[in-house]
């Protein structure tokens, strides 16, 4: 009996705005001027804040963190497609996404400064804290999405970020499988920045793309130019539409690059070629979007200078709030796990405080 094809698969690749500035009119999601300007501002804020955080860390004013320079399109583009009803489940390199959700920068500074309070975003809903434990957030996202479905919230979905390295973790499999089986409304965005600390893509996976991993779970996988903010927006928009139609999860592989170090405790020159970094620097997502704005007469040097000055003022103010400090409470860890803590947790809190000689201040 001859062999037959059990199934055929394809992994599409999406680019809307090319490196050279060519816009594919058929694929153009048709963002309004306001949306384009909002996106550019968000990406610039993310870049400037990232650079400032690096200086703060070097000055000993903040702890180790994971810089996101170069990945702004992959972080910000999708956020434009989200509504307040949608959930964001970040990993640890989505500064731009969190800022777009309205998380104040000083909260992120508090987080990387070692404060538990940096996990709490007053006034911002449906946005989970930074997840440093690689891939741990994927099952969380699947669970959140399942609960949306269970409660019948048809106008809401979850966007979950993780890196290329996370796809090698067991949690990735569990989360993807669960979400796919239950058709949970979730968009998985894999930021393939080519390096999992010092592990390159070819040592991370035997797969040619990360997007194709989706196929095994029975969900669509699409590879997107992650430095193309319009493509990232479009792919997320389409995936959210699927989710809202009850068609279940989608996986987006955002092809981007970690231009900076893995974290501030890492020296990438020890394991990768600077020529490769230079190539990716020339694919800067900010330049690509700025060129489009220039072409449409929406931007210019004066506006750029004014924006940078405005953003610097904003960042300065946030740094001041962060450095002004907050009252430390050793039992903060008991506060935010459950909406209503319950008797057992309160007992544990009391026992903890007792063990520290009473009183909750002075961490």
């Amino acid at each position: 009996m001859p062999l037959k094809n059990a199934h055929k698969f394809t992994v599409p690749h999406l680019q809307v705005l090319s490196e050279k500035g060519t816009l594919d009119k058929k694929l153009d999601p048709g963002l309004s001027e306001t949306q384009l300007l909002r996106l550019y501002r968000a990406m610039t804020l993310a870049r400037e804040a990232d650079q400032r955080m690096l200086r703060l860390q070097r000055q000993g004013r903040m702890g180790t963190f994971s810089p996101s320079t170069g990945q702004e399109a992959a972080a910000c583009g999708p956020m434009l497609a989200l509504s307040e009803r949608d959930w964001l489940v970040p990993a640890f390199r989505e500064l731009g996404a969190m800022l777009m959700r309205g998380v104040p920068l000083h909260r992120i500074l508090l987080f990387w400064g070692g404060w538990e309070e940096g996990n709490v975003f007053p006034g911002v809903e449906r946005t989970l804290p930074i997840a440093v434990i690689v891939a741990s957030q994927i099952p969380h996202a699947a669970g959140v999405a399942y609960s949306l479905k269970y409660r019948g919230e048809k106008d809401a979905a979850v966007v979950c970020y993780f890196g290329d390295g996370a796809t090698s973790e067991g949690d990735f499999h569990e989360g993807m499988n669960f979400a796919a089986v239950w058709k949970a409304p979730v968009v998985f965005i894999c930021q393939n920045n080519h390096w999992a600390i010092s592990t390159p893509q070819e040592k991370q996976t035997g797969s040619k793309t990360f997007a194709q991993k989706a196929i095994a779970y029975g969900i669509p996988g699409i590879q997107v130019d992650g430095n193309d903010p319009l493509a990232m927006y479009k792919a997320t928009r389409d995936a959210l539409d699927r989710a809202n139609n009850g068609e279940g999860p989608t996986m987006i592989e955002a092809l981007t690059y970690r231009v900076s170090m893995h974290t501030t405790a890492d020296d990438p020159s020890k394991y990768r070629d600077t020529a490769e970094v230079e190539v990716w620097k020339s694919r800067d997502p900010l330049i690509r979007l700025r060129n489009l704005l220039n072409e449409r007469g929406l931007w210019g040097e004066e506006k750029e200078a004014a924006l940078l000055a405005e953003i610097k003022g904003e960042i300065d103010a946030e740094v001041r709030i962060y450095e002004h400090g907050i009252e430390a409470r050793s039992d903060i860890a008991f506060d935010h796990v459950f909406a209503s803590p319950g008797v057992e947790l309160e007992e544990q809190r009391a026992a903890f405080l007792e063990s520290r000689g009473g009183g909750s201040t002075n961490a």
């Binding site: 200086r55 000993g60 004013r61 180790t64 405790a265 890492d266 020296d267 020890k270």
Partner: protein, 458 residues
């Protein structure tokens, strides 16, 4: 006035070396302008200034090692309130030779050179075990950095934290420090690090308490001709530290032998031809020697040990990790072949090739440079009939291989041509004696000169 203390630039970094200053005293600097380049164990980074103002003082010269927590720059930012005092433990350790030239005044007048204050007391702990820390005066005044759990433990043990040498950043005292101190161990950090610290801080004229030892200021070489200077950095500095420590701490004795490897070489060449292109197919003589040494270490475990001079006990290792000295563009590195007792000679040869080239390309992982229990150095392929290698402290012995050559030797009254490998075993005479070394050597000779006999032991 703002005092900028060196932050922990990575995770758990204790110190860094100053590579470059972007400013001089008296310069004006704006916030976030580049201030200094610092190299730590993890990375070389540029530190931007946390404040704008006038630079009042710099906390070290290029090449100096500075501790995390030490004030590296004082900036007059127009604010009169001074920031908190420097932790007592923070200190600069002067870079050696180049700085002597940079400060001719102190070099010429050793008496006026202030000796660096140090809270770490490696010299007394190593050379004078009798003076336990319990009888010493407090190491420091003011608050001692320590975690609450450590403070509680100290209270329970009835110990004053001021007396306990801390091994953490800015002299932070850990639970392990308390236990070590209570056991009478004294200093907390490993001996190698501490000895190097004090060696770096030595001043011309210093005797270190050793009779007749006098470390003189260097002459002004420029009187005799043109010179160039280059700071001792990175791997060169590590080698210098390790070698000085080993030579000062360990009584070295070397035993030399010439091994007839004719049979082994004939066999090896044939195998090599057969396995050309396979991993490990290069099948060097070194890989055979590595395996033979492993057999000797199994037979004589005291050569696979370390002397813990703090606890006064010998640590026997039940693992066999052989370091192979590698000549790299950056200097000497010693990649470690792990578990040589359970590897075939072919696997060992493959490991030597792989780790050797990783070391030469500067791509070797730190983990592959750690955990050795014995070292082999093979200068033979370059040149050299015999060498007396320095022990890779805290290992007990090292084997040096010279060049294997055909020689006219006498066998049964006739002069015949044989391939002779000269080897030298340098050993720590504190732990093993000459007769032990001779027995080790006898076994090594037997294995390498009679490989067929060896076969039955494998």
């Amino acid at each position: 006035m703002f005092e900028f203390k060196l932050p922990d630039l990575g995770e758990g970094i204790h110190e860094g070396e100053i590579l470059k200053w972007y400013v001089a005293v008296g310069d004006t600097i704006a916030e976030d302008e580049s201030l200094v380049d610092i190299e730590t164990d993890k990375a070389a980074v540029t530190i931007p200034s946390p404040k704008g103002g006038t630079v009042v003082s710099l906390g070290g010269n290029v090449g100096d090692t500075v501790d995390v927590g030490m004030v590296i720059t004082t900036i007059d930012d127009g604010d009169n309130a001074s920031s908190a005092a420097t932790p007592a433990a923070a200190q600069t350790r002067k870079a050696p030779a180049p700085e002597v030239e940079a400060t001719p005044a102190s070099a010429a007048d050793p008496a006026s050179t202030p000796r660096s204050e140090t809270v770490k007391t490696p010299a007394s702990a190593v050379t004078d075990p009798a003076s336990t820390p319990h009888s010493a005066s407090p190491l420091r005044v003011g608050p001692v950095p320590a975690a609450p759990a450590t403070r509680r433990k100290a209270r329970e043990m009835g110990l004053d934290l001021h007396m306990v040498p801390g091994s953490g950043p800015a002299g932070r005292v850990s639970l392990e420090d308390l236990e070590r101190f209570a056991a009478g161990g004294g200093t907390a950090t490993d001996a190698e690090e501490d000895l190097s610290a004090s060696a770096g801080a030595i001043s011309p004229g210093e005797t270190g308490g050793i009779p007749f030892l006098e470390i003189e200021a260097l002459p002004d070489f420029r009187r005799y001709g043109a010179i160039e200077t280059k700071p001792v950095r990175s791997i060169r500095r590590k080698v210098a530290k390790k070698m000085t420590t080993s030579m000062i701490l360990v009584p070295h004795v070397a035993l030399m032998e010439e091994v007839d490897v004719t049979q082994l070489e004939t066999f090896r060449r044939r195998e090599k031809a057969r396995r050309e292109g396979q991993p490990g197919g290069h099948l060097s003589l070194l890989s055979f020697v590595t395996k033979a040494v492993t057999e000797c270490l199994k037979a004589f475990p005291e050569f696979n040990a370390s002397l813990d001079h703090f606890k006064g006990e010998i640590v026997y290792k039940t693992y066999y990790n052989i370091g192979i000295a590698a000549d790299t563009p950056k200097g000497l590195m010693v990649p470690v072949i792990r578990g040589t007792d359970s590897k075939s000679i072919l696997q060992i040869a493959a490991d030597i090739e792989r780790l050797g080239s990783a070391a030469r390309d500067g791509k070797i992982a730190v983990a592959d440079l750690q955990g050795g229990s014995f070292t082999i150095t093979n200068v033979g392929p370059i040149a050299g009939k015999q060498l007396i290698p320095t022990i890779n402290h805290p290992e007990v012995a090292i084997l040096g291989m010279g060049r294997a050559d055909e020689q006219a030797v006498v066998r049964d009254g006739d002069i015949v041509i044989r391939t002779i490998l000269p080897v030298t075993l340098t050993f720590d005479h504190r732990i093993v004696d000459g007769a032990d070394a001779a027995r080790f050597m006898k076994k090594l000779v037997m294995l390498l000169s009679e490989p067929l006999n060896w076969l039955t032991e494998l």
